[in-house]
Amino acid sequence: MALGQDTAGDFALKVQNYGRMTGVSVALHAIPDAFLVLHTGVGCKYKGANQLMLHDRQRLALHGEGYTEISDIVFVKGSASRIGPYLRSWHAKRRPAYMAVVASTFIEMAGEDIAGEVQKAAATVPCPVDYIRTLGFEGDLYEGYAAVLARVLARAPFRERRPRKGRASVAGFFFHRHEPDVLADVGELDRLLAGLGLKAGPCLLGGEPFARLLDAADSESLVCLPYLSSVPVPVGPEADRYGGRRLVHAGLPVGLSGTAAWLRRVGEGLGVKASVIEAAARRGRGEAGPAVKTLREAARRRLKGRRSVIFADTPLAAGLASFAAEAGLPPILVGLRDESLGGREAFARLLKESGTEPPPDLSVLRNPPLADARRRIRELARDGCLGVLFGSNYEAAQPARAGARIPVVETGFPCVGWHAADPSPSLGFAGAACLAERILHAL
């Protein structure tokens, strides 16, 4: 390419710029008795727990991470030998049930055998230890998260344990904080499974201790959510990896029709009777329908044809788009805050699976530059087109900056400005009611 032909967008900070290291950190944070060793310089600490500090007020992320203090002198002398002492020292201090080690790009590039050193060190601590590669120019947050999921699943004794009949575990839930919103989402997934007559096993990841996660091996079925999609599939049938457990892949249950569709997909996939599925869907609609209807009426009266803007990772964006459409706030702009969850095609497929047709004028941007995304939000707000914004902390302030007083549903990662005091799910029928209430409250 000739000089001068690049656009600023090729180089600009994106709405979701996090790399694998942050994803590994988020995943380890989700496991309360895990510990992450960052074999890095001091700056890479910011890619880990520091990003979670303002996001999760319930659990202090810093307590789950330590770093090996690489300086120039240490680096020149060879740094890998530090991994063992630091691993043992942190184990002695925190007694974790599971540990992972990541390394900075420049250390990886120096050619030392980090994997070998971690393997050696792992033998000296009484807990499982995984080394996860986190090169800074490969992969995004969700790939890092999925890499941990893959390691945990690989340690679950699927072949050794006999599955319990009627028990199902969700695998691939994006658990990013121990606050009442995300905990409530885990609860909603359990409730949805219960509605199908299934007993919920541990959710991966669902905020539970490491040993409990391994009990997923007791489950007869695994409901695989899209955050599992970045896990590399080995050669051979996928189910072999999980000792022949029954697998069903589904999007996120968001909104009324999205959740009903999710129940059908999961229920049918796991051989649940149609009457049971429909009864669960009817019950849920009955509980949450009035709140969504109230929102639809309020939107019609007070937002008069205004639309929603959604910035979220692909599965969540599809779910929120479905919810917004049924609430009378069809999306006009969607920003997909990831690079590994399938992009526009996955968004369209997941939206279709939820039974929602995208508006013909919907614009879908795949991980756009932060400056462009913010400018678009402000323009829509100024033009009076924007009725509600769903977005992370990166986008949440933009309507106010444009002088527009419209409801903002801060969601996803990072979510810094909103912290629920009570259980406030986004998933399931209760999630639909809760989202509707959040918007109504802001109206």
């Binding site: 390419m1 000089l3 001068g4 690049d6 656009t7 600023a8 090729d10 180089f11 600009a12 900070l13 710029n17 996090y18 790399g19 694998r20 290291m21 942050t22 890095t40 310089g41 001091v42 700056g43 890479c44 910011y46 890619k47 520091n50 990003q51 500090m53 303002l54 202090l60 810093l62 307590h63 690489i70 300086s71 120039d72 680096f75 201090k93 900075s104 790009t105 420049f106 590039m109 120096a110 986190t134 090169l135 800074g136 120019f137 932060l370 400056a371 913010r374 992370s392 902390n393 990166y394 302030a397 990072p414 810094v416």
Partner: protein, 416 residues
């Protein structure tokens, strides 16, 4: 060299990125390295993150040292998009590791495009002190201003800059120090970092004097200012009555406006004296756990006097103090910290602790009335039942002093 500082070491890229993303103005920042280096600061916390770009170096480029084209393209794209008045290139561990001569690329680009380009050799590899980073950044930014004599202050001979003062929480309106300087007939050209945007940096050549909290933090910056013919004087961190008064007196003396200051400061100082006396009458036998080396945020007021700048305020209120220093617990580390504290003239008892997790035991055992620790140690202080004042959350000058006293009073009364 062992790090003898009482403040946390830092990655200079993280520090520079955090400070530049908090700074307003028409400039762009290019991080020259891998994409993930844009996460070495909390971008979501700062509106200025929109101005950040990354050369997105890949493995092959780094391994072969072919980085200059990527930097040129990135600079061109950023310049075309934002029409910036300045571009700032920040190095990373990757460029440091391969010895990349990106400052030469930056110089060439600057000459070709006629835009100032500052190239800073930042990285986490040469982790230094936060103060070193601050000094490097300020000294570099000061070169954006024309030489002295151009862009003169509005009030001839009365222009000044302030460096390292804490934010006073004034939103929109003038702060207490701005109002006081106005009453003294002085012209505040810029206050760095809290009211120092790019324009202020471009104007500093018009100032006659600089007042710096803890001059030892800024050797290069102070030298750069003096080379412009500016006088540079040290002022204390204006927290509490005594330090606030001394800070204002030094400024007034430099401009010969001491008499005006007597008028301007009289009411505020009197009220502070009265409140301090009331507090000391109400509370006796107080003890304070004063934490050090717990924060990394690159703020001059946090770093001033190695984090000890707020201590005098607590002494004014009658607290006895013990210092809790976060650091390696080995005896060598303890010895070095002890030496450093003695060199700073501190005589308080001190204790070195490795990690906030051990603080509940220390705080309970010490029977402290109040803790002054990094805000993230809130849960530990709560577990020990000791009320917490987060590090450097105290406000400056007289109004701040009154607010601080009221806050400590509330905390001690169990209402905070």
């Amino acid at each position: 060299m062992p790090d003898t500082s009482l403040t946390q070491p830092c990655c200079s890229l993280s520090g520079a990125a955090a400070m530049l993303s908090a700074m307003e103005g028409r400039f762009a920042v290019v991080v020259h390295g891998e994409r993930d280096c844009l996460n070495s600061f909390l971008a979501f916390n700062f509106p200025g993150a929109e101005r950040f770009y990354c050369t997105n170096l890949g493995e092959t480029q780094a391994a072969l040292g072919r980085t200059s084209k990527a930097l040129e393209r990135c600079l061109e794209a950023a310049a075309a998009k934002d029409a910036p008045q300045a571009l700032i290139v920040l190095g990373t561990c990757l460029t440091e590791m391969i010895g990349d001569d990106f400052p030469a690329v930056a110089r060439r680009f600057s000459r070709r495009m006629g835009v100032p380009v500052l190239a800073l050799r930042t990285s986490g590899l040469r982790s230094g002190t936060q103060a070193e980073l601050l000094d490097l950044l300020y000294a570099s930014l000061s070169t954006l201003s024309p030489r002295r004599g151009r862009g003169r202050s509005r009030k001839e001979g009365k222009g000044l800059i302030l460096v390292g003062l804490p934010a006073d929480g004034a939103v929109g309106g003038a702060s207490e120090i701005e109002r006081t300087l106005e009453r003294l007939g002085l012209d505040l050209v810029g206050s760095f970092p809290h009211r120092g945007d790019l324009d202020a940096w471009r104007r500093i050549g018009g100032a006659d004097a600089a007042f710096v909290v803890d001059r030892s933090l800024y050797p290069r910056f102070a030298a750069a200012l003096e080379s412009r013919g500016m006088s540079v004087a040290e002022v204390p961190l204006p927290i509490g009555l005594g330090q606030s008064l001394r800070c204002l007196e030094i400024i007034a003396r430099r401009f010969g406006v001491e008499e005006r200051l007597k008028d301007a400061a009289a009411d505020g100082a009197r009220e502070c004296r009265r409140e301090i006396a009331r507090f000391r009458a109400d509370f006796r036998g107080l003890s304070l756990a004063y934490g050090l080396r717990m924060c990394t945020n690159y703020e001059g007021d946090f770093l001033a006097y190695e984090g000890l700048g707020d201590l005098e305020f607590f002494a004014e209120l009658g607290f006895r103090t013990a210092l809790l220093v976060q650091g390696a617990p080995e005896s060598e580390s303890r010895r070095r910290i002890g030496e450093r504290l003695r060199a700073l003239g501190r005589k308080e008892p001190f204790l070195v602790f490795p990690d906030p997790i051990v603080l509940p035991g220390i705080l309970s055992k010490g029977g402290f009335s109040l803790a002054y620790l990094g805000g993230h140690a809130g849960p530990e202080a709560a577990r020990a039942g000791v009320p917490l004042v987060a590090t450097r959350s105290l406000s400056p000058f007289f109004k701040g002093c009154l607010d601080n006293i009221a806050r400590v009073r509330e905390l001690l009364s169990g209402k905070g």
